[in-house]
Symmetry: C2
DNA sequence: GTAAATTTACCGACTGGTTGGTATAGTAAT
DNA sequence: ATTACTATACCAACCAGTCGGTAAATTTAC
């Protein structure tokens, strides 16, 4: 599974040969196909595992969540920046990579990636909506969540071969600053 | 070339078969290989063409550029939002797609995509830097350009199968609003 | 309690289809 | 004579998926 995650991310779906996955995982083709009925299923499982790891590491980076919704959002933004330095994201985001390249060729894989992205977006939306409610500011939380997710995924795309993800950190930091401005002053559009 | 652009974008590099490109372009393989010595060269040419079209359509959407650097930046942001509704970007951005999936397998293709992205980033950086200089605000224009590019590419990634690119529009609109706040008030970090 | 039966987990050679690229002979226009 | 192809055939490499087999673990039967 770890080998599958790494190769799918590094080479893309089509170029990630199952023979290579087997070789790096020290398993044989027979063993692989005993557990997964097809390459698509393997990729879908890798995507779910990747998302699970993201959520886990995100929770770790959050620590004890503050009760105040706005404080919780600021803390979450810091956690995201921390996550961007984690080895898990040093080669990009598997969700974005699969969502980008598989929809026309392997809809089942794309569906798994989009499900995870939608779930992530729902979490962001709720965090932002709660903070806005608490501050008495009215905003479209979904649109702001789109902006934040775009900053993360777009930044990671631009940082494809840089393990420290400087553009993603810049994009998320700036968007976080915008969220602060918007939610603390009600200067939203 | 048009067929190559479309298939590379829709299916990804590996899954875009040259036979299919030839079929949709109504050309034979011999004809294709007369002009391009390899699939990598074809992809690189498609990337350059795509970037050229982006620049052209961007210029069209800008219209007559205002002399005031800040006004020019606001106008550019509007042009980007217009561009996001153009058929050229309705299926995503070829630069981002190729930069994401080819670096490990076809470095020459990735290099072409990254060159175009760097050029685009340089344009954005200069636009932002000029506006900031004019307003007497000191900012890291490169970081802000990263944020804007991330909003565009990340938004397009999230909107992979939606031809109207709502998330990208939201992300760019919000980041544009942030730029206005930052550059008009000097509230930047 | 143990032998037999069955299931689980895995191996690795093989297959059939696909793909990038080549080769060749010919054509029509410049 | 060169350029810009078409049409057809072909090839070696690759790759997802299969299949017959096997060894250990687990269950069943007595």
């Amino acid at each position: 599974m770890e080998a599958a995650q790494r190769l799918l991310l590094e080479r893309g779906y089509e170029a990630a040969a199952l023979d290579d996955v087997c070789a790096t995982a020290q398993v044989t083709k027979g063993g692989l196909f005993y557990h997964f009925e097809s390459k698509e299923r393997l990729a879908a499982a890798a995507i779910e595992r990747f998302y699970g790891q993201l959520v886990d590491k995100g929770r770790d980076a959050m620590g004890a969540a503050p009760a105040d919704p706005a404080q919780r959002l600021w803390r979450y933004l810091d956690a995201v920046v921390t996550l961007l330095g984690d080895p898990l994201l040093s080669r990009g985001c598997l969700l974005g990579a699969m969502a980008l390249q598989t929809p026309k060729t392997h809809p089942a894989v794309a569906a798994a990636a989009q499900t995870a992205l939608r779930e992530w977006r729902a979490i962001l939306t709720e965090l932002i909506a709660a903070a806005a409610r608490h501050r008495g500011v009215s905003v479209d939380a979904g649109q702001l969540a789109d902006g934040l997710l775009a900053a993360i995924e777009g930044g990671l795309l631009l940082d494809r071969d840089k393990p420290t993800n400087p553009a993603a950190v810049a994009a998320v930091t700036h968007f976080g600053h915008y969220l602060r401005l918007t939610l603390t002053q009600g200067a939203a559009r």
